[in-house]
């Protein structure tokens, strides 16, 4: 295996030295962990750069590391794909429990609109600047964010309180 870092990692290290936290490579797939303050600039760079051209947003999701001693409790994960180079990259960004806000990327990819709504609905992450941050999976008047690991399986009475209003 070559021990050289992929150019994506080096470029992000160079251009965003304050944001870079760490990188991992597993069987040719790279993931880079960055701080959340410049996340939209970093993704914009990966998208618009002539060489990388990560033009396709595969997914935005979130991980809740409740008791796993990670950097912060949550991590937002962006999976990108480049049609030009046929390559994939994963950008992770830790989000602390007491400040669950992060800049939106819906102005870069329209697909991000609903993906961010999903993360907001199920994890309660607040995407600053999102044009329409409503719940998408659970009913509009639902309370709570069910995919958080400390959310009880049977809910907090939402199911029982649910009444159909005619």
């Amino acid at each position: 295996m070559n021990s050289e870092k992929r150019t994506e990692i080096l470029e992000i290290k160079n251009r965003f030295p304050d944001s870079y936290i760490k990188d991992e490579e597993f069987r040719g797939d790279i993931s880079i962990t960055v701080k959340k303050n410049k996340i939209s600039e970093i993704l914009k760079f990966l998208k618009d750069d002539e060489n990388f051209h990560y033009n396709y947003l595969v997914d935005i999701t979130c991980v809740d590391y409740l008791k796993l001693n990670e950097i912060e409790r949550f991590a937002i994960v962006y999976n990108l794909y480049s049609h030009k180079n046929n390559s994939r990259i994963r950008i992770k960004t830790p989000v602390p429990e007491n400040d669950t806000s992060i800049s939106t990327v819906s102005f870069l990819w329209k697909a991000a609109n609903w993906l961010e709504r999903e993360v907001f609905d199920l994890f309660g992450i607040n995407f600053i600047g999102h044009p329409d941050l409503r719940r998408i999976m659970t009913p509009d008047n639902y309370t709570g964010h069910p995919l958080r690991k400390d959310y009880p399986l049977k809910g907090r009475g939402e199911r029982e309180k649910f009444k159909v209003v005619k």
């Binding site: 999976m137 009913p139 709570g144 049977k154 809910g155 199911r159 209003v165």
Partner: protein, 159 residues
């Protein structure tokens, strides 16, 4: 020469109820409310091997206004329940309802935060079909039970 010799065997005397119910029970138009995996098994019940058409119920009605039998096949989330209630209310009387599978009947294994624990909390269910998913024979049996219910109906007074 009485009237019987004139009309011979060409006339049957019966009640309106019996004729109407006979027609209704042999031409049930189900509204397939397939919300999950049970709907796949429901297709099996409809297809040629089990063939719900033998009981006159092969004509699925995707417009609730033309349906008289709702088959809720699958689990129902609390977000979906208002939709199902609305469709149920759009169906004209007389109407019947089958809760197909463990999920529609009781929530099944999904004792979770948004799942309706049995649709009978919200709409009246006539026949429950157990199983996960029920065998097509179970669905056919439920259909026959619905036919027995239809037979007892009256056009003057609903039972």
């Amino acid at each position: 020469m009485g009237i019987e010799t004139l009309i011979k065997n060409n006339v049957l005397v019966t009640t309106v109820d019996a004729v109407v119910n006979w027609a209704r029970k042999n031409s049930l138009w189900p509204m397939p409310m397939g919300t999950a995996c049970c709907a796949i098994e429901f297709m099996g019940a409809l297809a040629s091997r089990y063939d719900m058409g033998r009981f006159g119920a092969e004509r699925l009605s995707f417009s609730p206004r033309q349906a008289d039998l709702m088959i809720v096949a699958g689990r129902v989330a609390i977000k979906m329940m208002p939709v199902i209630i609305r469709i149920w209310e759009e169906m004209p009387e007389p109407k019947w309802c089958i809760a197909m599978g463990a999920c529609a009947s009781s929530g099944g294994v999904f004792d979770t935060y948004t799942l309706v624990q049995g649709i009978d909390q919200f709409i009246p269910v006539d026949v429950y079909v157990p199983g996960c998913p029920p065998r097509p024979e179970g669905v056919l049996d439920a259909l026959i039970k619905i036919q027995r219910l239809v037979e007892q109906d009256s056009i003057i007074k609903r039972k």
